[in-house]
Amino acid sequence: METAKNKTNQALFNVVLSLADSTLILSHRLSEWCGYGPVIEQDIAMSNIALDLIGEARNFYDYAAKLEGAGKTEDDYVYFRESKDYKNLLLCEQLNGDFAHTVVRQFFFDSWHIHFLDVLRNSPDETLAAIAGKSFMEVSYHIKWSSEWVIRLGDGTEKSKQKMETALEALWPFSGELMEATEDEKILIAAGILPNFEQLKTIWMEQIMSVLTRATLEVPTGKNTVQTGGKTGRHTEYLSYLLAEMQSVQRAYPGLKW
């Protein structure tokens, strides 16, 4: 009995940390657009989404710290772990590329995020439910933003359509990880704490198809679970650079307050 509970707690900690890492890393990528947006309005919009995601990440880190009970702060998790300890989705760490890549990455993520949070709002885990409730409204704005841009760019010019096709092909193999349950996630799904991933998969696919159709774009045909492993710490080459940059000041002067 006791060990089953421990196992659930450990799984919960891992999953919460994974959610924190995914939202943080995606927020970080979006913040790389700050000052570089194709028009000021979209520069601001991407910062907005980045701010929402960093807020969500901080809530998850806070919860992770409580679960671990070792007196850690959010910054301990963010600034003093290496690539292999990060549990974010591979999708989130992919490079911004051009605006089409950023839009597609966001669209894949948001299409999962919105439905994931929608169910999580009713989780018996009250902290998770509260975090999900808080972020749900924000994410409904994110999915609106990314869907509209998928449609605009897909159905814009020949050039923008081509760029969208390239981005879809490039990021499709990473999109399946969103709904591929890790061992930890399976434990929590079984305990009714996390939403059913099979159902999410269906809803996600419907969302993708309906928006891509309106965008006059094709759904990529290949397997979308080719690139996975982020949630258990096996990352692409990009993450360690992101971390090196993000952690550089903290690591150069460890143990100080900023």
């Binding site: 943080l24 970080h28 913040s31 790389e32 700050c34 000052g35 570089y36 947006g37 194709p38 028009v39 000021i40 309005e41 979209q42 520069d43 601001i44 910062s47 907005n48 980045a50 701010l51 960093i54 807020g55 990440a57 901080r58 880190y61 959010e74 910054d75 963010v78 600034y79 051009d98 605006f99 449609i151 605009r152 760019l153 159905d155 814009g156 010019t157 050039k159 923008s160 760029k163 940059e245 993000m246 550089s248 000041v249 903290q250 002067y253 100080l256 307050k257 900023w258």
Partner: protein, 318 residues
């Protein structure tokens, strides 16, 4: 001819009576030109000003600092938007104004041609650069042109948060380790003089000041504002335990103000001319960003046009 004289007199009377001039009203050409130049220069400064801070955004040393800095830089983008909109009420387009920026015809605040070299620069910029901007901008909330004044009211509301986040960064550094204090002092040393330059040339060397004062676009002279800024900043610097990099600085009890040393006007004009440490880099970055965004703007336009056609044809059917 009489008519123009009357119009000009009526215009100046309205200015003297502190009435706001609105977009559709008659205004002297030179007034319109001065406003376009000043508002667009201001808008460009907001946008270019995002670059030195975004340089440390991805290295912010805590999640809290990162979130606050991102919100701050995002605000600056918003300020750029308000100001481009205000300029557009004078009959120019944002595209034209950006073309002038990219060609080097339009200027922006020289302060953003200095590099950000350490995290402490995020503190110094928020505290001093935004602080000086507030000093310049608060009087603009009462400037004679309505859309500009209203844009400035919105801008000023957000600026005080910018200054506070900068000062908080400095406080944290000055309460920290010896290295952090040195980092803060080094930032102050590098930013102090360029910030004093933000108020523009000395009054007797300022080409545009006189008419701007008469038209109440400006309310105070460059030297007045510079003095105010020095008087306000010295106690803040002392509170941090830092030293002002000016050997001539001292309190003048007779004047009731601080005396301070001469700004290096040579450096000032060099940076204005394009020879500052980052002029080239900043402008090239903005041009590159603008070029890379072109296909996105084109696609958005093409899509909007298609939607327009669809709407119109569906109206015909109905």
């Amino acid at each position: 001819m009489d008519n123009i004289v009357d119009l000009e007199k009526h215009f100046q009377d309205r200015i003297d009576a502190e009435q706001r001039i609105e977009p559709k009203e008659w205004m002297p050409d030179a007034y319109r030109k001065t406003l376009i130049r000043q508002i667009s220069q201001h808008a460009h400064s907001e946008i270019i000003g995002m670059l030195p801070e975004r340089n440390w955004l991805t290295r912010a040393p805590s999640l809290n600092r990162k979130a606050v800095l991102l919100a701050k830089i995002q605000d600056e983008g918003g300020h750029g938007l308000y100001l481009y909109s205000a300029a557009e009420t004078l009959g120019v387009t944002r595209e034209d104004l950006l073309d002038d920026l990219h060609s080097g015809k339009a200027k922006y605040s020289s302060i953003f041609n200095y590099p950000t070299l350490t995290w402490a620069d995020m503190g110094a910029i928020g505290w001093l650069v935004d602080g000086a901007a507030i000093m310049n901008q608060v009087p603009l909330c009462r400037t004679s042109y309505g859309p500009y004044a209203r844009a400035m009211v919105r801008v000023c509301k957000e600026e005080s948060f910018h200054q506070r986040q900068g000062y908080e960064i400095m406080m944290a550094l000055c309460e920290g380790s010896e290295e952090q204090k040195q980092m803060a002092q080094d930032a102050l040393n590098r930013w102090w003089w360029p910030v004093l330059m933000m108020f523009g040339p000395k009054d007797d060397a300022s080409a545009n000041s006189e008419m701007s004062l008469k038209w109440k676009i400006k309310r105070f002279s460059n030297d007045e504002l510079r003095q105010r800024f020095v008087d306000m900043s010295i106690p803040q610097i002392e509170y941090l335990g830092l030293t002002v990099p000016d050997s001539e600085l001292k309190w003048n009890a007779e004047r009731g103000h601080y005396d301070f040393g001469e700004v290096n006007w040579n450096e000032f004009w060099e940076v204005v001319k394009g020879n500052g440490p980052c002029n080239h880099q900043r402008l090239e970055t903005r041009k590159k960003v603008y070029e890379e965004g072109e296909w996105v703007r084109e696609a958005a336009l093409a899509y909007a046009d298609k939607q327009q056609v669809l709407r119109e044809s569906s109206q015909h059917v109905a």
